[in-house]
């Protein structure tokens, strides 16, 4: 059974069609790049998968279940915004995640915090934006979730942090789980991807394995992305 499956998924905001008849499926154990230009519908898709938005029509299921309390136990979500309360310190955040997520591994989180020299007593409001993003990523990746949904995890950070984030995703995700990574910075993530989904103007333009792209089309994902979106756009 696919871990995530969309069937004829549509989402409309007033006159704007954010997602249009999206059909896709993600199998367990895959790292999938959800790639597309800004405003293509990537975040909308991830928000629906997290139950933050209700589809206009069609279905999205996670492990066969409609997004709800049960699927939230399976999904670890990194939104593109900093969602941490600014008054909380790192220890309080660890307590919070321990309380709400049975799959949260506190030791892993503490190890990663130590590696990055982030003081547990530091409050979110005392951190730089980059450090806040690192803490958020550490919290999300320290869960032994079935599905990681990461929305623009490398957008707006310096190259060193970007490398760290990609390394963290690779070394800390549960191998039996899947990762869906939304970004438009393809060259940075291409090496770690198993599959890609190209999405543009709310429509899936392509779903393929990276291996197939390289062997059949004799090009990199980045090159194909430029070609597809030049054609579609």
């Amino acid at each position: 059974m696919p871990l995530l499956e969309c069937k004829q998924l549509c989402k409309r905001y007033g006159a704007v069609q954010a997602l249009n008849n999206v059909d896709l499926s993600v199998e367990p154990g895959r790292i999938v790049g959800l790639l597309g230009p800004n405003g293509s519908g990537k975040s909308t898709l991830l928000k629906i998968a997290n139950g933050l938005l209700t589809p206009t029509s069609g279905t999205l299921t996670i492990d066969g279940l409609t997004p709800g309390t049960e699927t939230k136990k399976l999904v670890s979500y990194l939104p593109e915004r900093t969602y941490l309360s600014r008054w909380m310190n790192v220890v309080q955040l660890l307590d919070f995640f321990c309380d709400f997520y049975a799959d949260f591994d506190r030791e892993t989180a503490e190890r990663m915090l130590t590696a990055l020299e982030i003081s547990p007593k530091l409050r979110i409001r005392q951190m730089s934006k980059g450090t806040q993003e690192k803490v958020q990523l550490i919290l999300v990746m320290s869960r032994k979730a079935r599905l990681y949904l990461l929305d623009e995890p490398i957008g707006g950070v310096d190259p060193a942090t970007r490398d760290y984030i990609i390394r963290t995703i690779l070394t800390h995700y549960n191998p039996a789980a899947s990762v869906i990574l939304s970004t438009h910075l393809i060259a940075d993530v291409e090496e770690v991807l198993d599959d890609v989904i190209f999405i543009n103007k709310g429509t899936v333009a392509l779903q393929s394995s990276v291996e197939a792209i390289r062997s059949e089309r004799q090009c990199s994902v980045d090159e194909l992305f430029r070609e597809v979106f030049r054609y579609v756009g």
Binding site: L52, T54, T69, K72, R81, Y83, F96, F100
Partner: protein, 270 residues
């Protein structure tokens, strides 16, 4: 899950409410101490200081009440409707759990606020001038009121009044929540629309309340219902309490359903 949500909600609000209560108690102590000093020493400086402290104490008393309401409403907005909502709505918790944790926390702090205000007033009542004033008020014959009802009736009325107060406080907070949820279901001007909806709810309730009051008075004046025929004050108190209970319960139900529906089906985080 509700217990965990409530625990974190109380932790988040305690960091503001506890210092506010401390400030209230300290200002009550200073006010009372100055009253003793002003009574013992006839100094103009002490009289001026007492006047100043009496103003500070009054402002702190009112400010604590305002802070309680404002903080609980702000928490709902900040924790569920802004970026923090991305975390709260992706926790394995139900929308009911999220609303109830906010509401229960607001009710708990409201009770604490009443207790803190009572403590502050009790402290200030130790002071000479306030004590004299209170002695004057309570020197009258209150037995007429105490003898109005039997002990059983008093207990029943007080319990019903506490329940009605809890429901009425809940409906007040839920009206804020519903207005915020409604305002934030739109794409733009979310905060402004929340304020507009709050005033619209208030206006609507006042209009309905006025209409029902006029209707009730006309009905009571033209007909001969049992309430009017009864000479027993207990019957009158019971009927008034029941009307208040039913009205508050209806408002709680309406605003809860509106808030729940909007957060479940029309959640629109920026």
């Amino acid at each position: 899950m509700l217990g965990k949500l409530l625990k974190h909600e109380l932790r988040a609000t305690a960091r503001i409410m506890i210092p506010v209560y401390l400030l209230l108690v300290v200002s009550a102590c200073l006010f009372t101490l100055t009253m003793f000093l002003a009574d013992a020493y006839d100094l103009m400086a002490l009289d001026i200081f007492l006047g100043l402290l009496s103003t500070v104490f009054t402002i702190t008393l009112a400010g604590t009440l305002v802070c309680n309401t404002a903080l609980m409403v702000y928490r709902f907005y900040k924790n569920l409707m802004t970026d923090e909502g991305y975390l709260m709505f992706t926790l394995p918790a139900t929308v009911d759990g999220l609303i109830c944790s906010k509401l229960l926390s607001a009710l708990i702090w409201s009770v604490c606020t009443v207790l803190a205000e009572a403590l502050a007033l009790w402290i200030s009542a130790r002071g000479v001038f306030v004590r004299e004033g209170l002695e004057l008020i309570f020197s009258g014959d209150w037995s007429i009121i105490f003898n109005l009802f039997s002990t059983g009736q008093w207990i029943s009325f007080i319990l019903q009044a506490i329940l009605a107060l809890a429901l009425s406080t809940s409906s007040s907070f839920l009206m804020f929540y519903a207005a915020i949820a409604l305002g934030h279901s739109f794409a733009n001007h979310k905060v402004l629309l929340s304020v507009v909806f709050y005033f619209a709810f208030t206006f609507g309730l006042q209009t309905i309340g006025s209409f029902l009051s006029v209707f009730g008075i006309v009905f009571l004046a033209t007909d001969t219902p049992p309430l009017f025929l009864s000479n027993d004050p207990a019957v009158i108190v019971q009927v008034v309490l029941l009307i208040y209970l039913v009205t508050s319960l209806a408002l709680v139900a309406v605003f809860y359903v509106v808030t729940r529906l909007l957060l479940k089906k029309r959640l629109n985080l920026a």
